[in-house]
């Protein structure tokens, strides 16, 4: 079931790649605004880098939610999926596909943004890019899972575009705090294992609750 749905999502995405590329482009452009607004000096940018990159990643994930569930809800395939398999597994496979199509590209692009934000300035040997990527690998799935809950709750609501942001941004704050501070700790030559572990714990909690909650919400939206 999950594999069949995953294959279909990837096929749809291949032909609708522009919709997925826009949040990524947004991710890069937002980050590249900061040198203009603040200062192009490397130490300044480096200090801002963890926060800026993480906020941009969060906003890009928020933008990409528009691709989540919406078209399936509108063309009626969502209800067909719910007829043929359990709501939780529908939610789980949609979330997995969505992360592969939006979260993973973000992780892959993040080294480029690390370079733009001078993340390795003044460090001859340390490579903070890996830390940045690691936090995004652990953090973006959590964002996807929470976003799925918000999106499935608002499918049948009117004015749902901005509503979903209001619902889930408070839920995103813990991920943002620990994501950005892990990178900051690494930049300050401090240990960051604890922060990474907490990011991992958030991911586990979200994996346990979010697909179930999202599945229930899908049933309600379709009903």
């Amino acid at each position: 079931m999950i594999l069949t749905l995953l294959k279909r999502e990837l096929k749809v995405a291949r032909r609708n790649w522009i919709g997925l590329a826009i949040p990524l482009l947004f991710f890069i452009i937002v980050v590249s605004l900061f040198p203009f607004a603040v200062s192009p000096e490397a130490p300044v940018l480096q200090k801002l880098a963890p926060g800026v990159i993480w906020v941009a990643a969060l906003l890009a994930m928020l933008l990409s939610l528009e691709q989540f569930y919406r078209s399936d809800y509108q063309d009626g395939s969502l209800e067909q999926l719910l007829l043929m398999s359990s709501p939780t597994s529908v939610a789980l496979s949609k979330i997995l596909a969505h992360w592969l199509l939006t979260g993973l590209p973000l992780v892959v692009l993040s080294p480029l943004l690390g370079v733009l934000m001078q993340i390795n300035h003044g460090f001859a040997h340390a490579d903070h890019t890996w830390v940045l990527m690691l936090t995004l690998v652990l953090g973006t799935p959590t964002l996807c899972l929470l976003g799925a809950v918000g999106m499935s709750l608002t499918l049948a609501a009117s004015r749902n575009g901005l509503l979903v942001s209001i619902l889930i941004i408070p839920l995103y704050v813990p991920v943002l705090i620990f994501g950005a501070s892990t990178v900051t700790a690494s930049l300050e030559n401090m240990r960051y294992n604890g922060e990474l572990a907490i990011l991992g714990a958030f991911l586990l909690i979200a994996i346990v609750f979010a697909p179930f909650a999202s599945g229930r919400a899908l049933k309600i939206s379709v009903g």
């Binding site: 809950v149 709750l153 609501a157 009117s158 004015r159 619902l167 839920l171 704050v173 909650a213 009903g223």
Partner: protein
């Protein structure tokens, strides 16, 4: 036990709930007003000023700030409990309770933020500090507003109820996570702690507990009022609502 269960079931009937809340409400208001009068006398007049930390009269702000903050959290938990009852036992009146708590809880959260901010200015010299509790309160306010906005965005009330209930439950799982994260983040940045005061001098306990009790009751009274309006809103087509509107007493 069986009796309690039966009573719980009866509360699921809109008519019974409307009658009962109508009977309770005058008593709740009476108790509220008495406790509030005594509480205000103590908190604004009879209680001493704070000397040890040099707060002076500003300590009086605590007597509204702390109850409002306590209720803002408890109200959200109550919402999540009612939401669970509604989803698990398919009890429609539980959803009416969730919807009724939301505006009062949001108001309490707003008051906790406002009084906290006003307290912070003379004490720390700033209107806003990114301290752990204030930041959590701010996020809690967003959660309340999110629930209200979500509920208002459906034309179908039963969908709005169920979606809102899921949001309330997801939110309540997140409250401790948010609080823990914000607290950790706060110590990282060595921020001030506006609201942490250490052990409370017994002289301040009397007015604080009186005001806590008064605002609890006031909260209950307001929720019951909102609930009664919500019950009528949801049952406009029932015969007993028409009888009530035409002025006759609601008979059981």
């Amino acid at each position: 036990m069986a009796k309690a269960w039966r009573w719980f079931h009866q509360l699921g009937s809109p008519k019974y709930l409307f009658q009962k809340t109508g009977q309770w409400l005058p008593w709740v208001w009476a108790a509220t007003l008495i406790l509030l009068a005594v509480g205000l006398y103590y908190s604004l007049w009879a209680s001493p000023i704070e000397v040890r930390q040099g707060q002076g009269h500003t300590v009086r702000i605590m007597y509204v700030h702390v109850p409002a903050a306590a209720l803002s959290m408890i109200a959200y938990i109550a919402m999540a409990i009612a939401a669970t009852v509604g989803l698990v036992w398919k009890m429609k009146m539980a959803f009416a309770v969730v919807r009724s708590i939301a505006p009062v809880g949001a108001a309490m959260t707003f008051l906790a933020l406002f009084t906290g901010s006003v307290w912070g200015k003379p004490t720390w010299g700033t209107w806003w500090e990114w301290d752990a509790r204030m930041t959590s309160e701010l996020l809690l306010l967003f959660l309340y507003l999110g629930y209200i906005a979500l509920h208002a965005s459906f034309s179908d009330r039963s969908k709005a109820d169920k979606a809102g209930a899921i949001l309330a439950i997801v939110g309540v799982i997140n409250i401790p996570i948010i609080y823990f994260s914000v607290k950790w983040w706060n110590t990282l940045h060595q921020g001030y702690s506006v609201t942490e005061k250490g052990a409370l001098d017994p002289a301040f306990q009397t007015p604080l507990f009186l005001m806590l009790g008064a605002i609890y009751l006031l909260f209950a009274a307001l929720v019951l009022m909102r609930l009664r309006a919500e019950i009528i809103l949801r049952n406009q087509k029932s015969r007993w609502v028409k009888e009530w509107a035409s002025g006759s007493e609601v008979k059981s």
